[in-house]
Symmetry: C2
Subunit: 471 residues, 2 copies
């Protein structure tokens, strides 16, 4: 925690408050630029717009080409001896379909009841823009930043960031920093702000089973010709038990249990199981009662069947014995599992239990964990508390996946997540929206976090942090 003598922030907060309306205008202008990485809609123009936003915040800005959609980089040195903060966000958005489910068009942002509706408003334009506007506000009031700031805006996050790790390996020098700060996703479901230290990884795959070379009559062939749906049912039943434990041989060998600090933090997370059940229309959850809920999402790998399809699916009956069936699955990985190793174990399991079934690897992200005891935790918490009026919840690991392993794994940097979206932000869905009160507090928070990091007397990486990112 910062002591009573934390850095002065009233002038910066006053600037943010005074510019509230124009900052919302800036957000609306950014949401108005389509940037759908999956389809390419608007992407080149969006990269230019992102570069202009970074430049307008007062940073040296560059568009860096990759084999996919470009990255946008920013850099502004702070005082000598200050730490270097790398801000990570993404300017691409999810496809807006189905269009007719939107109350206002996805790329024509509209403010209703204190929220801005539009694709990308919450995921992730409003969140990295809040950080850029914090930088702009710090510069407007102080003329300089409290620490060195670098910005990295991904153009392919929504399609799995396929070129991010390669870029980081090639450009270690340009990305050299002491820590990474990112804002993505929602605050706690109960409304409290969160500081996030890690994410689960993911390994997606398809299981393809085949039977005869054509669909057959179940009366003439059922019981003598292999049924690919039965094959998948029996195979899947060997992969995960009814209690959710993954039963693939050797699957959990690399899992490193949570530490005492992580377990203690999970205990403090508010979980209202009755409210969750009421919201989802469920009488029972799969998790054990009470605290197991948060622990399960943070510390356990999971195997989800995302889809399973084969045979007749229309009205009434059809006495068919299908010829093929496909299951789509994802495994959520926890520290220190590695996707390639997990895929190998899954493949060995499938070969042993259903040798005719094909496993197709479909993309993965490694898990990422930053120790909660990092030296940067205290100033970041203090900054959040200064802007938000309360200490944040500490989340050791989020259930979902982000490409943070690029930073913790490839670059060796601790990462700190400060999600500012409202819990009902409708990410990836129609009517995505951002609560503008949270956007406003998010700008204050980002400024306060940079101020507290700058004021902290922490080890920093030294001369390399003053190198330029341009080039």
């Amino acid at each position: 925690m910062s002591g009573p003598a934390g850095p002065r922030l009233d002038d910066v907060f006053a600037h943010v408050d005074a510019n509230r309306a124009s900052f919302v205008e800036r957000l609306a202008g950014w949401v108005r630029v389509p940037s759908v990485s999956a389809t390419g809609q608007g992407m080149p123009e969006a990269a230019g717009h992102a570069r202009d936003l970074v430049a307008a915040a007062g940073l040296e800005a560059t568009v860096a080409e990759t084999a996919g959609w470009p990255l946008v980089l920013g850099h502004r040195p702070g005082p000598p001896g200050s730490p270097t903060v790398l801000i990570y966000g993404h300017y691409d958005v999810q496809p807006p379909d189905p269009l007719d489910a939107w109350t206002s068009p996805p790329f024509e942002p509209e403010v209703r009841d204190g929220r801005l509706y539009g694709r990308g408003g919450a995921d992730n334009k409003g969140q990295h823009l809040a950080q850029l506007l914090a930088i702009e506000s710090l510069l407007a009031t102080r003329g300089e930043l409290p620490c060195t700031v670098k910005v990295l805006l991904d153009g392919e996050e929504e399609i799995g960031s396929p070129h991010l790790a390669g870029f980081a390996r090639r450009e270690r020098e340009r990305l050299a920093a002491d820590l990474v700060v990112w804002s993505d996703g929602p605050v706690d479901p109960a409304g409290g702000w969160r500081l996030v230290f890690g994410v689960r990884g993911i390994a997606s795959f398809e299981l393809r089973a085949r039977g005869a070379n054509r669909s057959l009559h179940s009366g003439n062939w059922g019981g003598v010709v292999p049924n690919p749906l039965w094959t998948l049912v029996h195979l899947l039943a060997t992969m995960r038990d009814r209690d959710g434990r993954i039963t693939v041989e050797g699957f959990g060998d690399e899992v490193e249990p949570l530490g005492a600090a992580e377990r203690a933090a999970l205990e403090l997370l508010p979980v209202d199981l009755e409210a969750v059940k009421a919201d989802l229309g469920l009488e029972e959850l799969d998790a054990p009662a009470g605290r197991g809920f948060a622990e399960r999402l943070a510390a356990w790998p999971t195997l989800t069947i995302n889809g399973l399809h084969g045979g007749y699916g229309g009205q009434g009956t059809q006495t068919v014995l299908p010829s093929e069936a496909v299951a789509k699955c994802d495994v959520r990985l926890v520290h220190a599992q590695r996707a390639a190793d997990v895929y190998d174990k899954l493949e060995a399991h499938v070969r042993r239990h259903a040798p005719g079934v094909e496993l197709v690897r479909q993309g993965s992200m490694e898990p990422s964990r930053t120790p909660m005891g990092s030296a940067f935790t205290a100033p970041i918490r203090a900054g959040m508390a200064a802007a938000q009026g309360a200490d944040p919840l500490l989340v050791p690991v989020l259930g979902g996946s982000l490409p943070l392993h690029v930073f913790t794994g490839v670059l060796g940097l601790p990462t700190f997540g400060i999600p500012l979206g409202n819990p009902d932000q409708a990410n990836h869905a129609p009517n995505e929206n951002l609560d503008l009160e949270r956007f406003h507090t998010g700008i204050r928070t980002a400024a306060a976090v940079l101020a507290h990091l700058g004021a902290s007397k922490l080890p920093f990486m030294g001369p390399a942090s003053s190198g330029t990112m341009a080039g």
Copy 2:
């Protein structure tokens, strides 16, 4: 077997041979009349056409209304003291979709390479027409029939014959007979003619599983919110093991094993497992090697998943936790299981293993078995041998299902099936076709079977058989 002094048939066979071309014309005319019970296409006109065909064969013909599509009845008394044969067939056909997969339009029959192509040519118009043309040929050459003949043409066989059992219960007198002869489906895959004594039954059902009230993100909810696909996978895995044994409690209690005669007959059926595997593109079959194949289809109940659908099924990945999933299944029943009892056991099993899953009953037929030792077996075999030049294969039970329990169960009559379709008849599929050589031999066979039944000195039902079916 008939002795060397079987009834004279050369004059009847000569008549059939002489009229070969005009009989094919008659078949083409019948196929040209659409009669799709599922959609209603052409049904009222088809019932009238069927009545005219029965009358043209020399029988008193009636259309009998039901709560669904009408039945068509025929009757002509034979000599006093002769048995009464009830011929069962159906004039409705499967929907012809997909239309663009037909080489010639489904209701514009065309003869190519000795086969007539058109919907219903094999299933079932060509098969019951062969029997009607046999009656016509017997009358043309003899002036009278060798036994009393009744005809019952179903208009709802392709939709499960929902009104047939009720009609039989109400009209026992009109349907009074000594035995039932039916022709449907194909000869043995290897080409041999078959005499069929029974069929498996069927009970179709849907399993509906529900999770949350909406699809969720697998990272945020996987492992804590129930996944309806996992629910179905684990439920189904408790219902049938990898070897095909149904593991629903009490499921096999009512199964009566095949008798010695049935087992001996199964041993004689030709099964070329290598040819089956090559045709279906399979390296392995589910059945144990050798004779187990035929036995499995005749004597074992089976549980087939006809379709299973839930969650994402498109290209690539979607990290979704689905909210609902549905499995469509059919159970094939064997003697002396009853569908209602099997449904009860399935429901009890589902309640025990997955209480949230809903089981929806979707229609059933009881199994049917006629003892191979029936007194009518010998004259029918002899008639078939006289027309076909070889003793038929004896099939105790077919794998598929037909509403024969109406006769064996409701009316207490033995049933005898003489399928005359070619093995590649494409029933229920585009380019359905009937080999005209088999059609021709089928007419000769039907005539010879009636002649041999008339010549046999067997117990018959007496005065009731002379009652009229009209009214």
